[in-house]
Symmetry: C2
Subunit: 193 residues, 2 copies
């Protein structure tokens, strides 16, 4: 009967992937080179561009990613493995880059980020995480109980979120210059596409 027929043509859902450590690492390992290719050597006006007000420039975002390597991802993974839910994560300082990046150049920040990311991924590999480890839980100071799998998935999405942010900051510099094409450019119109 029709209801019992196995539908072999049903497409795989390509809009979601389950977390896999090697697939996550494949993204994480590429972020420094991606930002390097996009930003190194660009005219200063692009590097200092913002979306107005207190929004961040590409320079600010790279500093934020450096601070994340130093205090967020691997340090929090170790807290989960060593302390579980007993010790909440330290709060993350979202504004640290405004003091820590002062007086530095973008090429310096890109080099620092690349070196720290390599070190983070080496440390991650050295933990030899099992599926059981990924289920282990810690405590976020605001979000409550979270798993190691969720932390590492967030690391990946957070990288990509900031690639988006940098690209958006740059594109919106031409919000007026594109003229009537504005309607077609989701990055400028703000429409979800």
């Amino acid at each position: 009967m029709a209801g019992e027929t196995t539908d072999t043509t049903t497409p795989i859902d390509r809009s979601r992937r389950p977390f896999k450590l090697d697939e996550a690492s494949a993204i994480l390992s590429r972020t420094p080179a991606t930002l390097d290719a996009l930003l190194r050597g660009l005219p200063d006006g692009w590097i200092a561009a913002t979306e107005g007000g207190t929004t961040w420039s590409p320079f600010d975002v790279v500093g934020h990613l450096i601070h994340g390597e130093q205090t967020d991802w691997v340090p929090r993974a170790k807290i989960i493995l060593e302390h579980g839910e007993a010790r909440p994560f330290d709060k993350f300082n979202r504004l640290a880059q405004f003091t820590e990046s002062a007086g530095r150049t973008l090429p310096e920040l890109l080099d620092t980020f690349a070196a720290l990311r390599r070190k983070s991924l080496d440390e991650l590999a050295s933990l030899h995480l099992t599926a059981a480890d990924l289920d282990r839980r810690g405590r976020h100071p605001e979000l409550g109980v979270v798993s190691l799998r969720q932390l590492l998935s967030t690391w990946v999405a957070h990288d990509l979120d900031h690639v988006v942010q940098i690209s958006r900051v740059l594109a919106r510099q031409y919000s007026d210059e594109v003229g009537p094409w504005r309607a077609y450019l989701r990055i400028i119109s703000g429409n979800q596409g």
Copy 2:
């Protein structure tokens, strides 16, 4: 009087830049290497990922960018310079990549895009565009009268829009895996940030 005081502390507006050909070329020349750094060698599941339905994968987007080099940006610039508003642009086929990329691999597409982009920028440089040239006008089949400056500004924003799209498609694969962090990730929540 206060109303006549010149305010020398007014910050420069860093949220908009006027179009400059060298600054635009600086972005355009970096897009192939940016996508190469982000995508080459990634596991196939990432390359074929979509946002569901008929949305595009990273593989589809690179094919779309190739078609743009072949039929959109420099060809339209030449139509403006040669025919002005008298000859409307040819319509752009937004679905061309679904036939043109068939049977090809992502590394092939990345190589093709990089080669075509180099050729496009060489052609652009060979036009020795003046400020007066940038004011010249053509006719878009749907948007009406547009300037060469607007076309070239749109080329830049369009590149960055697709860097955003690819990053978003990848990040949203982990929409469920990030758990409670979803609230903090604009790329997944869809919030403007």
